[in-house]
């Protein structure tokens, strides 16, 4: 007997396609079409239904074209003072998360999101927000819109302000007359990293 077509189902906002009311038996299913920007999985899958317990299957599609997002963390006003230990949320333009909480920025203050889906001629926009700031820094609550082109790396700087801001006052005086302040001298300040 030939195979009998049961029907088709479309994945919903949660990526779920459901076939219900299936009598016990052997079935096969295949992906008929992929979401925009993704490549269809042509594999034919076979399942057996023997009980009323739902058979749950998980499948993935790869983006047809991709780009990369790189985030750099630094101290506000000090671009070279990078900050490790910050985590981010990356979401699509509808705020649906690709990554709810990323791994922390590395010792270079950077984290990368490779292979995000984008489309030639229609760059995709992603929302980037800080989940946790590095210890000792105020959270950056800005939601950054990052546009990603095919094959390109979109870079986004996310500065942080220190929770406690200190100050350094230097007084230069004449060595013999300490009341006499010396005007017009420049000092350079360096951050000594551990």
């Amino acid at each position: 007997m030939a195979d009998i077509l049961i029907g088709s189902a479309l994945t919903n906002e949660n990526g779920l396609a459901a076939f219900t009311g299936l009598p016990p038996g052997t079935y096969k299913y295949v992906q008929a079409s992929a979401p925009t920007g993704y490549t269809l999985d042509p594999t034919e899958y076979t399942i057996t239904i023997s009980t009323a317990t739902p058979v749950e299957e998980d499948h993935t599609n790869s983006p047809t074209e991709t780009g990369t997002i790189t985030v750099t963390k630094h101290v506000a006003g000090f671009p070279n003072f990078v900050l490790p230990g910050a985590t981010f949320k990356l979401a699509d333009s509808n705020d649906k998360p690709l990554v709810s909480v990323s791994s922390p920025t590395d010792s270079n203050g950077a984290i990368s999101f490779p292979n995000v889906m984008t489309i030639t001629g229609t760059p995709q926009t992603y929302h980037l927000t800080e989940v946790a700031a590095p210890a000792g820094y105020e959270p950056n609550t800005t939601e950054f819109n990052v546009e990603v082109d095919v094959g390109q790396t979109a870079e986004q700087n996310v500065p942080n302000t220190p929770s406690v801001q200190g100050a350094l006052d230097i007084t230069l005086t004449d060595a013999n007359y300490t009341e006499y302040g010396l005007q017009g001298s420049n000092y350079n300040l360096f951050l000594v990293t551990p």
């Binding site: 459901a18 219900t20 979401p35 009323a52 993935t60």
Partner: protein, 175 residues
């Protein structure tokens, strides 16, 4: 006169199948060491009378293996009827899904099963030719009465947390 034909347990209750002098089968419930007739178990569509059995004759036997898709089915109530629809034997499958059904004449018989929730017989009324001199073994399949379902979740391969809407899947049944 009543003849105890079989004793079986169904849903944790003990029953006996009794053949009385009128040739009728009755199912009973055991109460305080006595059997009290409570209900007739044979389906309405089948005759409830049985012919006189000559016990001097050879008794044939049909060994039936009842199973679901994966496992032997125990406690299934099985009936054997002759070509006229008369019940000639019955039994309950054991823990290996086996039941031995006796019969007294060569001929054509049918196998019937009572509902064994959540399983239903696939081949209800299966016909078979039996010979008293030739014991026979047969498999009798059941299937789940409940309907199943298939749930497919589609995700981004690189970001599995990100589920993908608007993917289409097509399902076929294979025979």
């Amino acid at each position: 006169m009543q003849i105890l034909a079989a004793v079986f347990v169904e849903k944790n209750k003990r029953f006996a199948l009794i053949l009385n002098s009128a040739g009728r089968y009755s199912r009973t419930r055991r109460q305080k060491s006595t059997y009290t007739e409570t209900e007739v178990v044979l389906p309405k569509s089948r005759k409830r009378t049985v012919p006189y059995m000559n016990h001097c004759r050879n008794i044939g036997s049909l060994n039936l293996y009842c199973y679901t898709e994966q496992l032997p089915l125990c406690r299934a109530c099985i009936f054997l009827t002759d070509s006229a629809g008369t019940c000639v034997g019955s039994g309950i499958t054991n823990s290996w899904g086996m039941v031995c059904l006796p019969f007294y004449h060569d001929g054509f018989y049918r196998i019937w099963a009572a509902d064994s929730s959540p399983f239903q017989p696939v081949a209800q009324g299966l016909g078979i030719c039996l010979n008293t001199l030739c014991p026979k073994c047969l498999a009798f399949p059941f299937r789940t009465a409940g309907e199943g379902s298939l749930l497919i979740t589609l995700r981004d391969k690189n970001y599995p947390e990100y589920t993908l809407p608007k993917g289409v899947f097509t399902l076929w049944r294979i025979y």
